[in-house]
């Protein structure tokens, strides 16, 4: 098995991303990321989607559940993305859908971040049998097919966003844990950590003050990519009818389009486009961030 290096920790998520080192990554975020076309494009996409998620209901011209036009009307001035089979406005539904996607992806990321950072820090900092046990557990979790696990959990427990977030979150952390562990091992024996230890600082403080800042940039990139993946997973689960039936999601809209591909292309085009632009924005940001670092 390839040894658990930084590179192989990324193997599943995105082996092509170069891991940034901690050197002045705040400045890097402000200047170097935004100087890149990919960084600006990514940030624009992400900002638009966030704004829509926050203010979508205010921006929407119609109630997405109300019948406001003819059945299966093509895009027009009153309905820029057309209407669905029941005559409901697709544009309004797309605006409402952003909230669901971001809610799920953010929830999953928070869980994965908490679990992954904790496990990786403990394993990397303490080493020995703790490292061994935690990494075996991480490998076990890494092979669980999370998409199918989420399907089973939702099928058995009934549809709902909470169980979707929980199953995806609890199966998404291994990549982060392996990454954090690798980063911590790389700096654990450097002088500044040794000095902190010699001064008698407690382990928890060393981890927070000295190790976490070094790991942060890598976490940001990995988390960005994870966020994009989870957005796609959430959309796919929604497409399979496993989302919350009372909440509008882009995946659910795409599933409803499946029956009308021959007569109403707009039903399939716009929800999918919304997902793609959102995921692309997140991926572009992560990409810009890591390549800005690589040039330095």
């Amino acid at each position: 098995m390839p040894p658990s290096t930084r590179a192989s920790a990324f193997a599943e998520l995105a082996p092509f991303i170069e891991v940034p080192s901690p050197a002045r990554w705040r400045r890097l975020l402000r200047r170097d990321v935004l100087r890149r076309l990919s960084g600006r494009a990514g940030l624009t996409c992400a900002a638009v989607v966030c704004a829509v998620a926050l203010f979508g209901p205010l921006l929407a011209p119609h109630d997405p559940f109300a019948i406001t036009g003819g059945s299966l009307g093509p895009p027009s001035a009153g309905h820029p993305m057309g209407t669905d089979a029941l005559g409901r406005d697709v544009f309004s539904a797309v605006l409402y859908g952003a909230r669901t996607s971001l809610l799920v992806a953010t929830g999953v990321s928070v869980i994965a971040l908490a679990c992954g950072t904790t496990v990786g820090m403990l394993a990397g900092y303490y080493g020995g049998w703790i490292d061994n046990a935690l990494m075996r557990a991480t490998e076990l979790f890494q092979v669980i097919p999370r998409f199918f696990l989420a399907i089973i959990a939702i099928a058995l427990f009934g549809p709902g966003l909470d169980r979707m977030v929980l199953t995806l979150g609890l199966t998404s952390w291994p990549v982060l844990a392996r990454l954090v562990r690798g980063e911590v091992i790389a700096v654990r024996d450097l002088d500044f950590v040794r000095a902190a230890e010699a001064m008698g600082l407690p382990g928890s403080l060393i981890v927070r003050r000295h190790l976490l800042p070094h790991v942060m940039p890598s976490i940001v990139v990995a988390l960005g990519l994870l966020y994009g993946q989870v957005l796609l997973l959430e959309a796919t689960l929604g497409f399979l009818g496993l989302g919350d039936p009372g909440t509008i999601s882009w995946g659910m809209m795409a599933a409803q389009a499946q029956g009308f591909l021959r007569v109403a292309w707009w039903l399939a085009l716009f929800p999918g486009l919304a997902i793609t632009l959102t995921v692309l924005g997140v991926n572009l940001l992560a990409d810009a961030f890591s390549s800005a670092r690589a040039v330095q």
Binding site: M1, P2, P3, S8, A11, E12, A14, P15, F16, E18, R136, E139, L140, V143, I144, P145, R146, F147, F148, L149, I151, I152, A153, A155, L156, F157, G158, G228, L232, A235, T236, F239, L240, G241, L242, G251, A254, A257, Q258, L261, R262, W265, A268, L269, G272, L273, I275, T276, V279, L280, N283, L284, D287
Partner: protein, 324 residues
């Protein structure tokens, strides 16, 4: 080719046991934590009292939990994944029937992806940040950000419905009783579009891995030596850098088998391809929990074995890998 360290192989094989045990434990816990009587989960919701009494006894549901888990383990090891009332027979049989179609789809998609992605990645790496590289990398990132069902729906709308290039649904033409070569041609025509749609996701990942692996290899001594000895840049790239850049590809293909099967499920649903994905959605609709759990186990085992296989292949072709 050298002999792979025997301890490495043995150790790696033994890892499969705890991994599968944990996966079985998760599926066992899900059965018992789910609201409602566990017997509905293993036997479906459409039986009568006598049948449930029989199944309860058969799965040992009247015994304490740890004992039940052992019974469950024993059953699964013997290939008994439960009974589907909807299909009226054992779950494993129903699932295995669907494997060939899914295997044909995923295998074809993977072949397409490898054939497309390796040259693209190599071309992109030949001149980093050149026009070709920027184009190929942007294309790969865009594909990586696209949900499979959207690509599938757009492909159906554009290529099948508008242009009539491909059949819209299914694995064979309706009512076609063809056999032999005409049958194979019919299946191939139906296979082409879903396989390309499924391949798109893999192309996105493989291109970028290939590119970064090539960028790692190109500055190395053996490539520079080849150049110094008078090989052209192209020859050095193809004959000296490319073979070693293929190593990460092996790992990634192994690590992404789970994604590939999940993608196949979606593509099958969109294109009406009669594999495990169609079975999945049908079982979701009929609330056929035994089939769903069986699918989870079969997919998990496939993922575990694929990881094992890719590790072994990697160890066999990369002499640097030893026991850790």
């Amino acid at each position: 080719m050298h002999t792979v360290n025997r301890r490495f192989i043995l150790g790696r094989l033994l890892q499969v046991v705890p991994t599968m045990t944990v996966i079985l434990l998760i599926s066992f816990l899900l059965i018992h934590l789910a609201p409602g009587d566990a017997v509905f989960t293993v036997a479906g919701e459409h039986g009568d009292a006598a049948y449930y009494a029989f199944m309860r006894h058969r799965f040992g549901l009247d015994q304490p939990l740890p004992r039940q888990f052992l019974t469950y383990l024993g059953r699964v090891v013997n290939g008994d994944l439960g009974f589907s009332y909807v299909y009226g027979r054992g779950t494993l049989g129903v699932i295995l029937e669907r494997v060939p179609a899914t295997l044909l789809l995923t295998g074809t998609a993977l072949a397409i992806a490898v054939v497309v992605a390796i040259p693209l990645g190599a071309v992109a790496a030949a001149r980093p940040h050149g026009a070709q590289d920027v184009g190929i990398s942007a294309f790969a990132l865009a594909l990586y950000s696209t949900p499979a069902f959207w690509v599938g729906q757009l492909a159906i709308i554009g290529l099948s419905l508008r242009l009539g290039l491909f059949p819209v649904q299914g694995m064979t033409s309706a009512g076609s009783g063809a056999a032999g070569w005409p049958h194979a041609w019919d299946v191939a025509r139906h296979l082409a579009l879903p396989a390309m749609v499924l391949a798109a996701q893999e192309v996105a990942v493989l291109v970028r891995i290939m590119r970064s692996a090539m960028l790692d290899e190109l500055p190395r001594d053996h490539v520079r030596t080849a150049r110094a000895k008078g090989f052209s840049a192209m020859q050095a790239l193809v004959r000296h850098a490319l073979p070693r850049a293929l190593l990460p590809i092996v790992t990634i293909i192994g690590a992404r088998v789970g994604h590939l099967i999940a993608g196949a499920a979606v593509v099958e649903i969109i294109f009406g391809w009669p594999g495990m994905g169609r079975l999945l959605i049908a079982s979701l609709q009929s609330r056929d929990a035994p089939i769903l759990l069986g699918l989870f186990l079969v997919v998990s085992l496939t993922v575990v074995l694929a990881n094992l296989l890719s590790d072994l292949v990697y160890a066999a072709i990369d002499p640097r890998i030893r026991v850790r």
